[in-house]
Each structure stands twice: as structure tokens, then as C-alpha cells.
């Protein structure tokens, strides 16, 4: 095979992201809040993980479908 096969997982996750737009908005709001506070220790891991949790739950069942 000359061409490397292309993984479908990123595409599936991309398709799930619109359903998690509220989580992403929370994350972006956090970024603004952190930037405004000027606190160097502050980070947005919680919101970031919540967003990916939402994407994961949506994508988990679909990721295995095209695989053997």
C-alpha cells in the first residue's frame, strides 16, 4: 500500500463538537477570565476536560463502527 490509511476518529470527533458548543463556550469564557485575572497559576483544565468528556461520550459508539 503506497498511501497511508487515514484515521476516522478525528473526523468523528469533529462532527461531535457542535453538540458540545456550550462546553466550548464555558472553556473560552474561562480563558478570558484567566487572562483578565492575571493569575499565572490559573488554568482551564476543568472546562477543557468537560468539553472532551462531552465529545467522547458522543463519539465513543461511532469510533468503533468503521474499525474491524
Amino acid at each position: 500500500m503506497d498511501d497511508d490509511p487515514v484515521d476516522t476518529k478525528p473526523t468523528i470527533e469533529e462532527a461531535c463538537k457542535p453538540g458540545c458548543s456550550q462546553r466550548w463556550a464555558d472553556y473560552e469564557a474561562c480563558i478570558k477570565r484567566v487572562a483578565a485575572s492575571g493569575d499565572e497559576e490559573a488554568h482551564c483544565t476543568g472546562q477543557y476536560l468537560d468539553f472532551w468528556k462531552c465529545v467522547d461520550v458522543c463519539a465513543a459508539k461511532k469510533i468503533f463502527a468503521p474499525l474491524k
Binding site: 490509511p5 476516522t8 476518529k9 488554568h43 483544565t45 477543557y48 476536560l49 472532551w52 469510533i63
Partner: protein
């Protein structure tokens, strides 16, 4: 009346408690959870998850390929011997050939010296490092864990392994990843020493399955799930046999009891 007034007297207190909870929720005070530093993997639809489902042998075979060509350069598997693979995913001849390709230190010989010989079925998977210190020295201080029981040793099992292998992402805002570490939300703490190892086309499967990242991760997770519990298929089969046997026995014993007692249950005693 007295009971009612007691209840009436208590009501404001209950309302006050509910109000306080509501206030906490309404003001959006932060809820801190213990799992905030790691993303828990979702449940993937593994084909071996059902109560009577067995492992996918073709997937184990591909998974061994991934382990051998990708993982084995850092991770040992010292509880799995070549003979364990026989009749699981490979034939005896295939496994013998694979074992013979390795070189094993053995000894002592007639002169009391150690010597190296080609591997045999009874040899365990060759370890990439001689000892823990060598492994840490080669990996920037981090120890690649032995993978024999890794699926049982991590919360989430094969879901975790799959999510971790395919889950390398950009770090969130405000997190700086230490040099030599990589951001992975599924790893506790978020920073893992192992770099992403699986890339599309990283191996070539002998059944010509397209080797995408997800496919390789799924197969190697299945392989590791098998390695951690080789008795899995036998266990489920035996469970079914025992439940079926005892189920039938229960029915038979119920019938036998009713049959034996029917004489006593239906007799009539008349006194004259």
C-alpha cells in the same frame, strides 16, 4: 393537632436548608471534583464485552503485531510466554518461528558458562531493558510499565488504554507541559512521559486491515486485555455451563420434591 404543630414547627428549617442548597447552585459556586485532573475514558463497544462474548482472535493477532513492532521497544511483557499465543491467535509453527527469531541468554552449559540460544516456545517475551535502572536511564527517568497485566492494573481497563493511545491533544489554556513530557488528558495529572506512539500506517497487518491509529489502538488494547486475562473465554464458557447445569438441576429437584410429596399432600385421613 399536636403532631401537626410539631411538623409545622419544623417546616421552616427544612425550607431554609433547601434554600441554602439552591443559593449555592444559583450563585454558580465552583464544584471541585476528585477526578478533575484526569479525563475518564468513555465506554467503547468492545466485541468481547458481552456476558457470553469471546475475544476477537483476529484482533489479538493484529494487536500482537502492534505490540511487537511499536510497544515492545520500551515495554516488557514478562508474564506472557510465546507458548501462550499458541491456538489463541497463531499456530504452533508460527509461534515457534517468532520465538526462534529472538536470542535468549541461557546457562550454565557444560563448562559452567552462560550462552545465548534461539528462543523457544517456553521463553517469555524478550524484555527491552535488562533492569529498571536501565529502563529509567533510557527514558528520561520514567519507567515504562510491564504490560502483562496493564489492563487490570488501570482504572477503565481497555477503554483507558484505547483512550490514552489515541488521546494525545493540545494542553488547555494555562497549562505548560514540562520538557520531556506530553499532554494527555486521560493520564492522571495530564502529563505523560510516553510520546504518542501510534500513527496511521505505523505497522502493516498481514490480513491487510488498514492500519489507522484507531485500528492499531483497538487491536493492541484487545491484545493487552487478552494478556491480562487469558482465561477470559474459558471463564465465560464455564460460567454458562455451570449456570445451565444448575438451572436444569433446580428444575429437576423442584419436580422431584413435588413428586415425592404429592402422596402426602393429597392424602386424606379419616377417623372412624
Amino acid at each position: 393537632m399536636a403532631a401537626w404543630s410539631r411538623l409545622g414547627g419544623r417546616l421552616p428549617a427544612v425550607a431554609a436548608t433547601a434554600g441554602a442548597t439552591g443559593l449555592a447552585l444559583a450563585t454558580g459556586s465552583t464544584v471541585l471534583r476528585a477526578n478533575d485532573d484526569a479525563l475518564h475514558p468513555p465506554q467503547f463497544p468492545w466485541s468481547h464485552k458481552g456476558a457470553l462474548s469471546s475475544f476477537d482472535a483476529a484482533s489479538i493477532r493484529r494487536g500482537y503485531n502492534v505490540y511487537r513492532n511499536v510497544c515492545a521497544s520500551c515495554h516488557s511483557m514478562n508474564r506472557i510466554a510465546y507458548r501462550n499465543l499458541v491456538d489463541v491467535a497463531f499456530s504452533t509453527e508460527e509461534v515457534k518461528e517468532m520465538a526462534e527469531e529472538t536470542e535468549v541468554e541461557d546457562g550454565p552449559n557444560d563448562e559452567g558458562l552462560s550462552f545465548s540460544r534461539p528462543g523457544r516456545l517456553s521463553d517469555v517475551m524478550p524484555a527491552p531493558y535488562a533492569n529498571e535502572e536501565a529502563a529509567r536511564y533510557a527514558n528520561n527517568g520514567a519507567l515504562p510499565p510491564d504490560l502483562s497485566l496493564i489492563v487490570k492494573a488501570r482504572e477503565g481497563g481497555e477503554d483507558y488504554i484505547f483512550a490514552l493511545l489515541t488521546g494525545y491533544r493540545d494542553p488547555p489554556e494555562g497549562i505548560s507541559v514540562r520538557e520531556g513530557l506530553h499532554y494527555n488528558p486521560y493520564f492522571a495529572g495530564g502529563q505523560i512521559a510516553m510520546a504518542r506512539a501510534l500513527y496511521d500506517g505505523g505497522v502493516e497487518f498481514d490480513d491487510l486491515t488498514p492500519a489507522t491509529t484507531s485500528q492499531m489502538a483497538k487491536d493492541v488494547s484487545t491484545f493487552l486485555a487478552w494478556a491480562a486475562e487469558p482465561e477470559h473465554d474459558e471463564r465465560k464458557k464455564m460460567g454458562m455451563e455451570w449456570v445451565a447445569t444448575f438451572g436444569l438441576l433446580t428444575v429437576a429437584m423442584f419436580y422431584a420434591k413435588r413428586f415425592k410429596w404429592s402422596v402426602f399432600k393429597t392424602r386424606k385421613i379419616t377417623f372412624r
